[in-house]
Subunit: 421 residues, 2 copies
């Protein structure tokens, strides 16, 4: 079944409100195998709404609208639907009674214009709204090329969700022509999109209209979204499994998690599992590694603390980096990053230390160390002695804000690799 | 000028990603007086993209697309545009060189397929991408009924925003047929929406269809958006000015900036102006204050560094908090917050120290100190001696992620108040 969404409201177009209704409906419909093909937003404008309703009703088997169902002058959806389907608005006594009671409970008289809330276009089913006063509408029409369905929902998210859950989804689930759609997302990091493409690009041979693989870049790395669809859910699941297996064979070591996992959460679990504690020494990231680690509830199990050593004096006095190393190699260097990591672990009393020193930009770049240069240092202690001291140097972007995120991701990934690789 | 947005990506339709690009573009375009009439989302499907591109290009003067510009097989937008406008893709040497350098800096060979990133449809202008490798495109066509404009942007939000700001908005601002719409945003912090409402709610008498005031809450505080529209720009500007003056009279001390100012940027400017340096001592914020301060380019002028003292041992050993204060009052207390702030300033050698100790949640709350409790400490030194030691206790929300942001905002605001109030 193919669906179009039509979300209505000026506030969505001017960016005052983010269109979370479209997100929520997209997820809910995909979950039951409805294929959302198109999502359109227009303002509270009768001509625009009519035009888009017409297009969607022609092209899709299911159209869901949200918005424009309240009692105010810019709520025009119901009268448009009534006109489009030549279905006169009729007052529903049960609804009118509900609206009356709603005002009575609040000790106020019912304003005359809200009587419109109690009308239903002839031939439409009403969908009960357990949360507010605007009623949802349902229309099913049989034609030569199968059934056409229309659901008209309010724009207030709570009301929309409640009516969808109680009124729309049960009606859709009765229909037979739902596709089974299986999604899985594999999260990679420390490997650029183009190099993934080299390693797995030939898998496009496996793909067809019913099996898809999408690359979604983020500051934590490239997410790989696997989608399979088909009438038979088992077949779809087996195709996803086979593709995942092949991907893990080829690039498994870059995959840190699936779905809604976060790198800081995965690293935290690994640290807890190994009974390792961590201390940070952050220069270029300015506290972001600490912030990300502590965004996970329970991180005090493994995160001891850190030093943000922005000034060189802090590197020397608080972390114990030697002035001569700083002078010989400069603050942005692998030797300094290593001394920072060792200093953090030792001074704060943690199993491992992780450090960043780099040039986030926009200033500070040189020929030898351009903007985007990052050195990550790692130190691990056993019985009070540093037994593993390591570092990497990376070259990232020209954007300060993005660099800080990528720098922190690189440091977290270094911990993951040190534990797993 | 009327605009349509065309956002492309399966992930938007299935609800995996919320369409924040449409929100952001809607806001940015409205701000300069472009009327966004329609916003359409389709998947990574060539037929659907072509169909919607055709519709929008027929109906609007400006079309902006996002998504589908990367190097992988599902990135089809550029070839669709090339075909639709009969504009063959030509390799741009400068772009090719940039992509090559991008790989060179990372010490890797350029995969052959990324050469596609360096192509531009004939007759199109390229829009420089300072953040990534996918280039934006601009097309302007004069016809009988005026000019048609097309901007093709990547879907990665950072890249999209950067190209819009640097390439698209300047080109739009040159055009004359923008509506007269004056926006101004006043940024408040440290005052809840309900208490603002009490202080300025009666100003609704000033408002009408052509003068609007909206409250927009954020983790940095409540933004007040003033909008005036009308035929006469001067009149609109004077109305905005009068409203702003009244607002500043009543709540001026809560207003830390306007427009795209950030609290960390404003605080940074104040510190630089007063030639004060700052050191942080973060417990509940886990590094976020440092992260926010260092997100501002040039912050090394005033930010010395900090200590993330998650474990009590770090508070004692690195910051010099006394074990007896910890025992008497607990880690989340004003006395400990003050000792942390004084310790950070003294040990790291800064003019002021700012600290946070609190319970972000979800665990760790007690009757006396429930989740959301925050203590902020402040210390200022002169000639090596602490001359101002202060603290506040606040009660914020139940959500860990939100709390960390609000905690950091409260600490930054404490610096601003100490300087200005």
């Amino acid at each position: 079944m193919k669906a179009h969404l039509l979300t209505i409201g000026d506030e969505l177009l001017i960016g005052q409100t983010t269109n979370t209704n479209a997100t929520w409906l997209g997820e809910a419909l995909s979950r039951i195998g409805v294929h959302v093909e198109r999502s359109v937003t227009v303002g509270d404008d009768a001509d625009a709404i009519t035009r888009e309703l017409d297009r969607s009703y022609e092209e899709a088997q299911l159209v869901i609208t949200t918005g424009g169902l309240g009692p105010t002058h810019d709520d025009v959806t119901k009268s448009i639907v009534s006109e489009y389907f030549d279905a006169p608005l009729e007052t529903d006594d049960e609804l009118l009674e509900r609206v009356r009671q709603y005002y009575e409970r609040r000790g106020r008289e019912m304003p005359p214009e809200v009587a419109d809330l109690a009308t239903v276009p002839r031939g439409f089913e009403k969908l009960e709204n357990k949360v507010g006063t605007a009623v949802g509408l349902w229309y099913a029409e049989s034609g030569d090329d199968g059934e056409r369905l229309l659901a008209v929902l309010p724009g207030v998210p709570d009301e929309m969700r409640s009516i969808y859950d109680n009124g729309v989804e049960p009606r859709l689930s009765e229909r037979a022509d739902l596709q089974d759609l299986v999604h899985k997302t594999l999260l990679t990091t420390g490997v650029p999109e183009s190099s993934l493409q080299q390693k797995i690009g030939d898998l496009s041979d496996w793909l067809d209209g019913e099996l898809k693989l999408a690359y979604l870049p983020s500051t934590s790395g490239v997410r790989l979204r696997l989608t399979a669809m088909g009438r038979d859910r088992d077949v779809a699941e087996r195709r996803i499994e086979a593709l995942e297996e092949e991907l893990r064979d080829r690039i498994g070591k870059y995959i840190f998690g699936t779905g809604k996992d976060t790198l800081e959460g995965v690293v935290g679990d690994l640290l807890r599992e190994h009974e390792w504690t961590v201390a940070t020494a952050e220069s270029a990231t300015g506290g972001l590694i600490g912030h990300r680690l502590t965004s996970i509830a329970g991180s005090s199990d493994y995160f001891v603390g850190g030093v943000i050593s922005y000034a060189n004096e802090v590197k020397i006095n608080t972390l114990g980096v030697s002035a001569s190393t700083l002078k010989a190699h400069g603050a942005v260097s692998q030797p300094v990053a290593e001394e920072m990591a060792a200093g953090a672990a030792t001074k704060l009393g943690a199993t491992i230390g992780i450090s960043t020193s780099g040039i986030a930009g926009p200033g500070g770049g040189t020929e030898e160390k351009p903007v985007g240069t990052l050195c990550v240092g790692f130190a691990r202690r056993e019985d009070g002695k540093v037994v593993d001291l390591d570092s990497v140097r990376l070259q990232l972007t020209n954007d300060r804000v993005l660099n800080k995120e990528l720098f922190a991701t690189s440091a977290l990934e270094m911990i993951r690799r040190k534990i797993l690789w």
